[in-house]
Amino acid sequence: MSMLLRDRRMLLPLLLAPGVGYLLLFFGGPLASAFIGSLRLEDGSFTLDWYSRIFTRPSMLRGLGTSIYFGVAPVVVSLLVSVPLSLAIRRHFVGRKLFSGLYKLPLAVPGIIVGLMIIVLFERGGFIDRAIAPLGFGLPKLVRDDWGVGVILASVWKQIPFMTLIITSAFAAIPEDIRFAGRTLGASRLATFFFVEVPLAMPGITAAVLLTFIGSMGSYAIPDIVGPPTARPLSVLMVEEFNLGRFPQVFAMGMVLSAFAVAVLVAYYTLTSRIGDAHGRGDAR
C-alpha cells in the first residue's frame, strides 16, 4: 500500500477514487446502461426508434409538454409565495420561532401522502367542499382537472418550504447596512427591495427555482394521483411503458427527461457565471 502511495502516477487516481469512483459506479453506471439500453431493439441491434417515438407520437409529445408544464407552473406559484414569506420571516413577530420550525414540516412528507391529502381536501365531496356546502358554495373541479390545479397545489405545498429556506438565507446574506444604505440614498423600502435586495439575492433565488423545477418535472406520485387522466407527464408514461415491459422505451424517456434537467442546469451555470463576470456578483455574497 505504501509503495502504491509513493508512486505519483497512482496517487491521484487513488485519492480521487472514493468520490469520483462512487459517482461513476452508482450514477454513471446506471446512466450508461440505460443509454445503451435505449439504443437497442429486442434482438440487440442498434436503433433510434425509441427516441423518434417520443418526438413523433402525439401522446408522448403531450407527455413531454405536460412534464414541462408540471415543472414550470408550480415553481411560478411557489416563488410568488416564497419570496414574501422569506421577507416576513426576516422580521420579528410573536411566534416567529415556532413558525420557522413549522413551515419546514412539508419537507418531510412524501409526495404520495401530499397527493392523498389534496384529494381529501379539495376533491368534490371532500373536506373543504363539504365545509362550504352549507353556505351555498361548491368547489370547482380541482383534482384530476384539465389544468392540473391539483398537481400544482400538491407540488406547491411541497416546494414552498424548500424554496423559502433557500431564499430566506439568500436575503439574510445581504448585510443590513447595504439595505440601510439604499434607504439613506433616497430609495423607499420597495425600491431598495427591487434595486438592491433582489439583484443580490438572485443567485439563491435562481438556484431554488431550478432545483424545484427539476424535482417537480420528474415527479411521479403527485401527477399520477391528482393529475388529469388526459394529460400524463413523461414520468407517468414511463411507468406505464415499464408495466408493459418495454424497457428500451422507458430508458429512452428517462434519457430525455435527464437531458432536459441537465440542459437547464448547464444553462443556469453559464448564465450565472456570465453575470458574475460582468457584474462581479461572484464575491457579492
Binding site: A181, T184, G280, R281
Partner: protein, 355 residues
Amino acid sequence: MSMLEITDITKDYGASRALHPVSLSVDEGEFVTILGPSGCGKSSLLRIVMGISQQSGGEIRLAGKRIDMLPPERRDIAMVFQSYALFPHMTVEQNLRFGLRMKNVAKAEQQRRIAHAMEICTLTGLSSRMPRQLSGGQQQRVALARAIVMQPNLLLFDEPLSNLDAKLRDTLRHELVALHRRIGATSLYVTHDQAEAMAMSDRIVVMNAGRVIEVGTPLELYRSPRQAFTAGFLGQTNLLAVTASGRKAHLPWGQLVDLAEDAAGPGQVSVRPESIGIRACDRGGRDTGSCAPATVAGVSFMGASALYTVAIGDTLLKVSQAGGDALIEPGRTVALSFPDRLPLLEDRAPDREAA
C-alpha cells in the same frame, strides 16, 4: 444658525436605557464629532438621526424642519457607513448614480455631480470598477463620494476609518478634513478614536454610558476638561485626588499646588503627562528637598518624546518629556514641577480606569 438640532433624544431597549436624554446641535458647515468608548450610545444616536433606528423620545430638527418622524429616504441626510455598504452588484459609477436616480435628479445634473465627486474623492478612472476590485481606501472614498453627490443638508459618518490600517487611516483623515473645508458640508462624525476626533473636529461631543459628558473644541477639551471622563478619554492624563482649601490643594503625597479657583474639601485634578516638568536630581543629592520622594519606575522611548512612569508616594505618575538629551534611567530620583492654576474637575469620584 444651527443646521441640526437634537433635543432630548432617548432610546430604550425594554427596561434598559441606551440613551438618556441627549441634546446637541451642529451649526451649518460645522464638523462635529461624537466621541466615546464602544457601547456609549454614539452609533445609536447617529442611526436615530439617520432614521434607520427609532428613538423612544425627543425630537430632531434639520434646517428648522422636524424630521424625526420621517423615513430615512425623506430626511435629506446622507451617511457613510463603517462597512462602507457599497452595492456589490453595481460599478462605482452606478453606486454614485443610485441615489440621484432615486431622487429623480436630471440626467445632465447627475453627470455633473458624479464627475465632480469622482474628482474630489480622487476616484477618476475607477468609474467602471466593481467594489470588490477596489482597495479598502478606495472603497471608503466611493462611500464618501456616494454620500457627497446627494448634496445633503447633513453628512453622517459612522466610524468610516476604523476598518483601515493605521497609515491609510491617517492619510484619509487629512483628506476628509480637506474635503470638508472644500465642500463645507455640515457633518456629524462618530468615532471612538480620540486622536481622530481631535485632528478633524470643529467641536467634540464626548459621550459615555448613554449621556453627553461634555462639549467643546478639541483644544478646550484637551487643555481644560471639566469632567474627569473627558480628561481621561482624550489623550493621556494623571487623575489625582486632592484636598483643596482656598486656592491651594494638597496632592496625594502632600505636595502643594495652585488651583484655578477657590474650592474646599476633596476633589480631583487632571495633569497631562507633558505639563509635568521632570529633571534628574544630582547624584550627590544636593537638592534633596524636592527630590526625595520621586523615583523613575520605568521609561518608554516614543521617538519624539519619552514617557516616564514616576513613583511618588503611593502614586504612579505618567510624565512625558520631549526633546531630552538623554533618558533618565529607572531608579534615579527626579524633581517634578507642576503647572499653576490647575482646574478642579467636576466629577469627584476618582476613576482611574478611564485614564
